[in-house]
């Protein structure tokens, strides 16, 4: 898949890149980070113009994120019919209001594998769109211009950078899962007798 997309990008440039990141932001399993790093290298080599390509990628990925937010937003009613009575759902929704901004920001460039579920959650949980957009713009700017900049910096050796970024993202995702498990264990296994007064 990545090979096919890279060939299309060197043939057709920014428009096809825009389409790829737009569809990727809506949930298609494209290797977006690899592509952005590679595109930075193509700009360095003079195949693409970096201001136009960067701008097209940035606008398209933000639009794609907006669409996946909308999908969650309009699917809320059907999800609520199923889960609204559950206390876990209410707790998750409240928690997302507190931590959603940081989740949106970090999943744009660091844990990109869960960016789409976070968009859907943000829409479903009625996370304010203006705040969503603010965190989205900041995170995607790092993804497009930061990672693209690394590709530009390393030129034809962009594959080593892409390899590191992809694996580091997987590492951080693993840490998130592990910490979630440990926090849950701590909460559930904590002795509830701490509030019981000394009988003496």
């Amino acid at each position: 898949m990545a090979d096919f997309l890279l060939t299309q990008i060197i043939n057709y440039g920014a428009p096809i890149l825009g389409l790829i990141v737009f569809i990727g932001a809506m949930g298609a399993p494209f290797p977006g980070t690899l592509i952005i790093v590679a595109v930075g290298a193509f700009c360095r080599q003079g195949f693409l113009s970096w201001p136009i390509t960067g701008l097209v990628a940035f606008i398209c990925v933000v639009l794609g994120d907006g669409v996946s937010y909308s999908m969650g937003y309009y699917a809320r009613e059907s999800i609520l019919r199923r889960f609204s009575a559950s206390p876990q759902w209410n707790r998750a929704e409240k928690s997302f209001q507190n931590w959603g901004g940081m989740s949106i920001f970090l999943t744009r460039f660091l844990i990109t594998g869960i960016a789409v579920p976070v968009n859907l959650l943000a829409g479903t949980g009625r996370f304010p769109f203006k705040r969503f957009l603010m965190y989205d713009l900041a995170g995607e700017a790092i993804w497009v211009f930061g990672y693209g900049g690394l590709g530009y910096l390393f030129g034809t050796q962009w594959e080593v950078v892409s390899d590191f970024i992809s694996n580091f993202g997987g590492f951080v995702l693993g840490l998130v899962v592990l910490v979630a498990g440990l926090l849950l264990a701590r909460r559930l296994l904590r002795p509830k007798s701490s509030k019981i007064d000394d009988p003496a």
Binding site: A2, D3, F4, L6, T7, I10, N11, R44, Q45, G46, F47, Y152, L153, F154, G155, T156, Q157, E159, V160, V161, D163, F164, N167, F168, G169, G170, F171, L173, G174, L175, V176, V177, L178, V179, A180, G181, L182, L184, A185, L188, L189
Partner: protein, 134 residues
């Protein structure tokens, strides 16, 4: 009191999280060492797009015109080496060309292109020749 379902969830999260951390942590560490070994070219050098000489960086997804510009070898030279017409093949990747012209020999197009580049690349001026010592 913790239920068996919660216990299972905690176990799954911790086990899967540990496996992912170990697997990707090791790969990220190795990749980081590779990044350190590959020093990038100066970002604002006068020659912004230096000529690539390492043919091991050629991949199956690249097209002949892309390789031609990257390695500064005319695309006609590469098509001649492959004995295939340039017409209708400019936008095809090496993998597609291989599939079209030599499906029985996987990877042959890539190898021929590498050999053609090595044989036809313009030698770069040596550092000692271009910067005489006082």
């Amino acid at each position: 009191m913790i239920t068996s379902r919660q216990r299972t969830l905690i176990t799954i999260l911790i086990v899967i999280g540990s496996v992912i951390v170990g697997f990707f942590g090791w790969r990220a560490f190795r990749a980081f060492n590779q990044v350190r070994e590959h020093r990038p070219p100066p970002p604002f050098a006068p020659e912004a797009a230096p000529v690539e000489t390492d043919v091991e960086l050629i991949r199956d997804w690249m097209t002949i015109s892309y390789i031609s510009k990257t390695y500064h070898v005319p695309s006609k030279t590469l098509f001649d080496a492959l004995s295939i017409p340039s017409r209708d093949n400019e936008e095809k990747s090496l993998a597609q060309l291989n599939e079209k012209y030599s499906p029985q020999t996987p990877g042959i197009i890539l190898e021929v292109v590498k050999a053609a580049i090595l044989a036809n690349q313009t030698p770069l001026p040596s550092v000692t020749a271009s910067s005489p010592q006082p």
